[in-house]
């Protein structure tokens, strides 16, 4: 039997199930929305991102991500959960990868694997409800309780990350490899293009930006704190004054598409403390 909103609320109130930081706003008619939690991992970035500090989590086109749910759950042995993405994010091109169910007796935070199948970045603010959990009451208590490796999971761990695929754009990579296998003439294409593949439907600016994000880990080794100009898929200029660097780039290459990025682990932020700019942008 699937629990409806008031049954979920009552089960939390009585302690039958635990959902930390429970919010009525996350209650759906027959499910509970889980929010974007404190940690995420992008296959292209190769490191755990503190979403709480960054305040958002961007999943690039073609990238694979792990997202830790904000809520810690505890299910009794007569209840199981199933979860899926909210339709808003499914329509934006995300596809969630998950096991068949959250087992009876599970305790901890769920980690949801997500692939971005769209040609655009998908932006997930911290604490955004992004998937929904359906709770099913079983006919009786199970004899055994979940005791697998994810019991009491509250963070993304190296063990989880090791299980991820190794390619930055898994689906496109798979397709190209299949084409290359079918046609030897495409094998040169596979070898030369695959490692640096950026979706061609992006604008030139977005492509340069994607190159910047791709190169960032490497740039951090020698250019931390500097600005870099990306043009034609390469880092072409470095400097500490963004405006001077942009002027230099425009003088050298003409006024055209470039990306000027700060080589830092943090995203560049600006504060606009006015109610005149509050709209969330897509």
């Amino acid at each position: 039997m699937i629990l409806v909103d008031q049954e979920i609320e009552k089960a939390v109130e009585t302690g039958e199930i635990e959902i930390t930081d429970f919010s009525k706003e996350c209650l759906q008619p027959a499910s509970y929305d889980l929010r974007v939690g404190e940690e995420g991992y992008l296959l292209s970035g190769g490191k755990i991102i503190n979403i709480q500090n960054e305040s958002f989590f961007d999943i690039q086109s073609g990238d694979f991500a792990l997202i830790l749910a904000h809520e810690k759950l505890r299910l009794p042995t007569n209840m199981l959960g199933r979860f899926g993405l909210r339709s808003l994010y499914a329509r934006k091109g995300l596809l969630a990868t998950a096991g068949p169910q959250v087992d009876p007796g599970f305790e901890g935070k769920l980690v949801i694997g997500v692939v971005n199948f769209s040609s655009q970045n998908v932006h997930l603010p911290y604490l955004e409800p992004f998937c929904t959990l359906e709770l099913n009451r079983l006919s009786r208590h199970s004899v055994t309780s979940y005791s697998g490796q994810y019991q009491n999971q509250e963070h993304l761990t190296d063990d989880l990350i090791k299980l991820m695929p190794k390619e930055p754009f898994p689906l496109a990579v798979m397709l190209i490899r299949q084409l290359a296998a079918a046609s030897p003439s495409l094998q040169h294409f596979e070898a030369s293009i695959l490692p640096r593949m950026i979706p061609q439907e992006l604008s030139v600016f977005e492509q340069e930006k994607a190159v910047f994000l791709h190169l960032k880990q490497e740039l951090l080794k020698e250019h931390r704190g500097q600005y870099v100009v990306i043009r034609g898929g390469k880092a072409v200029l470095f400097g500490t004054n963004k405006m001077e660097l942009a002027k230099q780039a425009y003088q050298k290459f003409g006024y055209g598409p470039i990306y000027v990025g700060l080589v830092s682990e943090e995203y560049e932020s600006v504060h606009i403390s006015t109610p005149r700019v509050t709209r969330r942008m897509e």
Binding site: Y126, K242, Y250, G254, Y259, I272, R276, R279, M281
Partner: protein, 126 residues
């Protein structure tokens, strides 16, 4: 040079008359009144203005609003500004529906706000 406060705001708001140009094509320009907003780190322009000027994006910022609320990502552009006959190159973000003069440009000028007289005076530029 002096500018009247914008009286259709309640209370009236200090504004500066600005001309914005594409830095590579001075023929593409827009003239308007920009709200002086010391709470804004950076100058903000509506996207339609940036598009009209043919601005090329250069980077993306994470925009944080009141109470550190996340507003969203916004692309930035370098455009030429003319204020009180003084030209300055400045970075702007395309966001919102109004011309908002942020501190990256405000701090280039000595500005006197005469609230009772509802007049903004530009005394000097750095």
């Amino acid at each position: 040079m002096s500018y009247q406060y914008k009286n259709d705001c309640n209370p009236p708001a200090p504004v500066l008359r600005i001309t914005i140009r594409n830095m590579s094509d001075n023929a593409r320009q827009i003239i308007g009144d920009a709200l002086i907003d010391t709470g804004a780190d950076i100058t903000c322009l509506p996207r339609v203005i940036v598009r009209t000027l043919g601005g090329e994006p250069v980077s993306t910022y994470n925009v944080v609003g009141i109470d550190n609320a996340h507003v969203g990502p916004a692309n930035s552009y370098f455009l030429e500004f003319e204020i009180a006959s003084i030209k300055k190159l400045a970075e702007v973000i395309a966001i919102g529906d109004e011309l908002i003069l942020g501190r990256n440009l405000i701090n280039e000028f000595i500005i006197q706000l005469d609230g009772p007289g509802k007049i903004t005076n530009i005394l000097k530029s750095e």
